[in-house]
Symmetry: C2
Subunit: 404 residues, 2 copies
C-alpha cells in the first residue's frame, strides 16, 4: 500500500513526533538515518502521504503530524512490539519477584509499575469473578437484621454480599444456612449460580423492580447534573438493586437460595472486576490544555466505562485503539489505549492497559503492557492462590531487548 520509501518517511515522522510532540518538517526527516534523499524529495513524498491521509499539516508552512490512520499504519506495519530498556527489564523482574500479597494489592502495585514504565496512565482490571471457582463460603450474622455472605474465590478475591433479613432469625438458622451454602457453592463458578438456583426465578418474580441488569440506565438518579465527574458509570444501575431479595426468607434453605441468587446476579462487591488506575497524574503531563485533562480524568473516574473500554478493545482483537475512531469515547479523543490480556489459571481473565495521548510511544507501550500481562499470567498460572510465588532469577516472559 505504501512503497518502502514512503513507509520509511512515515515511520520517521511518527517517531520524531512521538519524541518531540512538534510538527516535523521535511529537512528533519531527510537528515534522519535510513532516508537517503533530499528534503525536496521528502516533501514530495509527504504530499502523497498527506493526500492519502497518513499525515496532516496543522497549517500551511508547518511540519507534518501523523493522523490516526498514520499511527495505525505505523503500529501495524512499522513499529513492532518494541523492547524495554535494561533498567526497565530489571525493574519488572524485581517487581514480580518481590510483589507478594493479595491479588488486589498486587494489581494495584502493578498499575503503578506500568505507569512508571510507560510514563502514562496505566489501567489494570481485576479478573471477573466468573473465571474463578468458589473456595469457601460463609454467612455472617452482622446483628440487626443484616447478614453478610462472604465468598472466597480461588483467585484470592473475596466477595461480599450484604443480605437483609426480614426479621430476627435465630442464630442457628444462619449457622445452618452457612453450612448449606458452603456445601452447595464450593467448587462452582459464582456466576453460574444465577441460573442453577431455581429459587432465583421465584424470587425474581417477587420483586417487581428487581435487578435492572447492569448497564441499563435505571431511574431518576440525580440528574447527572453539570459535573461530568460524578455523573456516569451506571451509578444508578448499581445503586438501586444492592440488597438482596427480601421476599420470604424464613428457613435456612430460603436464606441460602437468596444468597445464591445474589451471587448469581453478581450484586456483590466484585461487580465486573475492579479497576486500578495508576499514574493518573501523568495525564496532566500529556496535555497542556487543562480542559482536556479534566475530561480524561473524568472518564478515569468512571470505572465501569474503563472496564468496558478495555474489554471492548480486546474483544475486537486489537491491542491498540487509536483515537476516538477506534475506541469510541469522545472525551478521550486525543488519547489512545494499548491493552493486553492476562490469564488466571490459564484462562484469559483480566486486562492491563495504558492510556496515553495519541502521540504516545506505541512500541514501548506495547512492550510494557505485554510483558506485564505475561508476568501476571505467570504468577497465577498454576493455582489461583493469593500470595507469593518466589520465582526470582527466572524472568520468564520478560523478552526484553535493547530499545532504540
Amino acid at each position: 500500500m505504501l512503497d518502502d520509501r514512503k513507509a520509511a518517511i512515515l515511520r520517521a515522522v511518527v517517531s520524531e513526533y512521538i519524541k518531540t510532540a512538534q510538527p516535523v518538517g521535511s529537512s528533519h526527516i531527510a537528515a534522519s538515518p535510513g532516508i537517503g534523499v533530499s528534503s525536496a524529495t521528502v516533501r514530495g513524498e509527504m504530499v502523497h502521504l498527506e493526500s492519502e491521509g497518513y499525515l496532516v499539516q496543522p497549517h500551511t508552512s508547518a511540519g507534518r503530524v501523523p493522523t490516526e490512520k498514520g499511527y495505525r499504519f505505523f503500529v501495524d506495519q512499522l513499529g513492532g512490539v518494541g523492547r524495554l530498556g535494561a533498567a526497565q527489564r530489571m525493574q519488572v523482574r524485581e517487581f514480580f519477584a518481590s510483589a507478594h500479597g493479595e491479588i488486589e494489592y498486587v494489581l494495584e502495585k502493578t498499575s503503578r509499575l506500568l505507569a512508571q514504565l510507560t510514563g502514562w496512565t496505566a489501567l489494570v482490571v481485576e479478573p471477573p469473578a466468573d473465571s474463578s471457582v468458589i473456595r469457601a463460603a460463609q454467612i455472617v450474622d452482622m446483628g440487626g437484621s443484616t447478614a453478610l455472605a462472604v465468598l472466597v474465590l480461588s483467585n484470592g478475591v473475596v466477595e461480599k454480599y450484604p443480605i437483609e433479613l426480614p426479621s430476627e432469625l435465630d442464630c442457628s438458622v444462619i449457622g445452618e444456612a452457612s453450612a448449606r451454602l458452603a456445601a452447595r457453592v464450593i467448587g462452582k463458578h459464582p456466576r453460574s449460580l444465577s441460573s442453577s438456583s431455581a429459587f432465583g426465578e421465584r424470587l425474581e418474580g417477587d420483586r417487581p423492580d428487581s435487578s435492572p441488569g447492569p448497564l441499563s440506565s435505571a431511574g431518576g438518579d440525580r440528574s447527572s447534573s453539570e459535573g461530568s465527574a460524578a455523573g456516569g458509570e451506571g451509578a444508578a444501575a448499581k445503586q438501586s438493586s444492592r440488597t438482596t431479595g427480601r421476599g420470604s426468607i424464613s428457613t435456612a434453605e430460603d436464606l441460602v437460595d437468596a444468597v445464591c441468587f445474589a451471587i448469581g446476579c453478581g450484586e456483590g462487591s466484585a461487580e465486573s472486576g475492579q479497576v486500578f488506575v495508576g499514574g493518573a497524574s501523568q495525564m496532566a503531563a500529556a496535555f497542556d490544555a487543562v480542559e482536556t485533562v479534566r475530561e480524561v480524568l473524568g472518564i478515569l473516574e468512571q470505572h465501569l466505562v474503563v472496564v468496558t473500554l478495555l474489554r471492548d478493545v480486546l474483544d475486537r482483537g486489537l491491542s491498540v485503539a487509536i483515537g476516538v475512531e477506534e475506541h469510541g469515547l469522545e472525551p478521550l479523543a486525543a488519547c489512545s489505549v494499548v491493552v493486553a490480556p492476562y490469564e488466571v489459571e490459564g484462562k484469559p481473565s483480566g486486562t492491563v492497559g495504558v492510556l496515553g495521548p495519541t502521540r504516545m510511544d506505541y512500541p514501548r507501550a506495547l512492550a510494557a503492557v505485554s510483558v506485564v500481562g505475561e508476568q501476571l499470567s505467570e504468577r497465577w498460572k498454576d493455582a489461583g492462590r493469593s500470595g507469593s510465588g518466589s520465582r526470582s532469577g527466572n524472568d520468564g516472559g520478560v523478552r526484553a531487548v535493547e530499545s532504540e
Copy 2:
C-alpha cells in the same frame, strides 16, 4: 483584633474572591451590601489589612487577594458553617436513603457525592480496623502452599491475610486451625491481637527463630526512581513483608498464632483504612497551571499521604487546614483541606474531607463535610452492620438552611 468595619471588608473581599477568583478592588467592596462607606475609605482600611497580613496585592494597581491568614480569620470569625441549598439537601437525603450495600461501596459513593456537593475533590477514609470487632474468621486453603485468613469485622469490612505455608499441611490441620482461630479472635479488636497474642510471648510450641519481625525492610526495592507517582506511600515498607512469618508452622496452633500475629500487625488488606477519592478530575478545574494539577494528583495517588494528612488535621483539632503552612504538604501549596470525622458505633473512626484550592468556599465545604460526616455516623450508629438502613423521610442531621 479587627474592628467591625475591617472585618466586614475582609469578609467581603474573601467572599468576592471565592466567587470570582479575581483580585478584588476597593470599589467593588464599597458597592457590596453591608459596607456603608466610599471606596476611598475602603482603600484606607485595605492598606491596614494588608499591612497586618490579611490581604496582599498581586502587584501595584491590582485588587487585593486574601492571604492564608486572611482565610484563616474568615473561617474562624466570619464564615460560620454555611448551609447547603435546598437542592443539595435533597440530594444528600436521597443519597443516604438509597445508598445500600457494603461499607466500601457506600464510602466510595459518598466520596462522589461530596465531590459533587462541593465542586472539588472529596476524600473519604475508611474507619481503621481497630475501631471494630471481629465477627467471623476463617482460614481457607488456597491450594499450593498458600492459605488465606479471612476476617469479617463488625463494620462490614472484610480483611484478608495471605498466609504462606511452609509445606503441604493436611487439610484437617487447616480446618482445625480455622475453628481455633474463630474461637480465639471473635469478639476482639483485630489490632489488639498484636500484643495479646501469645505468639510473641509464648504458647506451647517454643519457636526459636519465630517471627522475623515484619515491617523490617526486606528486599532491595526498586529504588523509588524518578516518577513521583509510583514512588511514595511507603510502598517499600508494605511491599516487602507481605507474607506472614514462615518460621515453623506445623501444628494448627502454630498456624493460628501466625495468623493472629499477622492480624495484629495489620499486614492484611485493610492497612490503615482505604481512601476513596471522588472527583479528582475537578482538581483540573481548580488550577489553570497544568503543572499544579499534576502535583496535586500525584499526592492524591499516594493514599497513605492522604490518610495521614486528614488524620493529622483532625488530630490537631482543626476542621480546616489552609495552605502549606497548616497542612504541610508542599505540592498542595495552593490547596486547603476541610475535614470532618464520622463515627462508627459511636466512636470517632473515619474522616471525610474536601480538597480544594485555598480560595474554595469554606462555609459551603464545611457544611457539606459535616453533614456528610453526620449522616455516615448516623448510618453506622447502632450496629456496625454492612448494609441498608432504610431510614428515609427523616434526614436527621441535615441541618440545612438556605445559603447566602
